[in-house]
Symmetry: none
Subunit: 152 residues, 2 copies
DNA sequence: ATCAATGTGGGAATAAGTGGGAATTAGTGG
DNA sequence: CCACTAATTCCCACTTATTCCCACATTGAT
């Protein structure tokens, strides 16, 4: 399970360094083979170890390609999905369309979210965190049963 | 179970010393491996022994990432979650975003709260204690069934 | 007052992250 | 099918950050 945010740089060859604390687990999970695609709610990317991604592919596969909305979801998620293998110095290559979707420039945030990572531009991530804290504190969040069950 | 408040200092390398009275228990619980994240209601931090945190992660994992509110909560809690291992001289490192959230300066309070700790800036903690006592005394607190069941 | 234990500060060693040259591979056109 | 170009991958060197370790200060007990 991945957690925590790391500030990393997207270098001139469009690579990001995976923080060493994650490498061992990633190598055990998937020998460094990962899949990166766009997020559909935010300007960020989702990065999965290959086995996790394959489960998502199965779900996408079961959607109906006759339903326009479901088909669109398949097109967006699968169409942007890019195989990324961690190279021998622990770096991942992020291709052009993905960089564009997340507005990635030099300063990038890699955010552990349990079974996957999110990749954000530094600015967008900070904005998202501010929005999150203020929404929760101001009570704009509807407390579903699942949320009430959380005792922190 | 942890209880009591300790006044400690955040040093120039952003470390806090865990009071010795807790170390033995913490070492037994989690070999000093802990997780620190933000509190969503107050400007303070929550510090869990790793096994306790993992239970929370399980609950967070069962939230739906398609629901924007539940996803936001995941992002805030997991994104800020930071692995903190007690070092060989009994200290923990507090990273920048966390320090910022709790407005930590030199004087810090470590507050035992049963299965976890809270970390407050000295000022904010004192304000919180005053507010707490006065609200309870003035009867501004709604007495739910669970509270009525408390006999002190 | 002295000693022991805890907490604090900071120098030095180690490791991690970054940038970019060089070698290899893949792609394109003649 | 070969030659040329472009892109990718590897590897080394540098810088920055983290961790370890030792020494000093403070507290509380004998």
């Amino acid at each position: 399970m991945f957690r925590g945010t790391s500030a990393i740089t997207l270098d001139s060859k469009n690579r990001i360094t995976v923080p060493t604390k994650y490498r061992e687990e990633l190598f055990a999970d998937c020998q460094g083979k990962m899949v990166c695609t766009v997020d559909i709610q935010h300007p960020c990317l989702l990065l999965y170890p290959l086995p996790e991604w394959e489960e998502i592919e199965l779900k996408l596969c079961s959607l109906s390609s006759m339903n326009p909305q479901e088909r669109l979801l398949q097109q967006v998620l699968l169409g942007n999905a890019s195989d990324c293998e961690i190279d021998k110095s622990g770096r991942l290559l992020i291709n052009g369309p993905l960089r564009l979707h997340a507005n990635l420039e030099k300063s990038v945030m890699l955010v552990g979210q349990l079974k996957k990572f999110e990749i954000w531009s530094e600015n967008a991530w900070q904005a998202q965190m501010q929005k999150g804290i203020s929404q929760i504190q101001s009570g704009e969040i509807e407390l579903t049963d699942r949320l009430l069950d959380l005792s922190l």
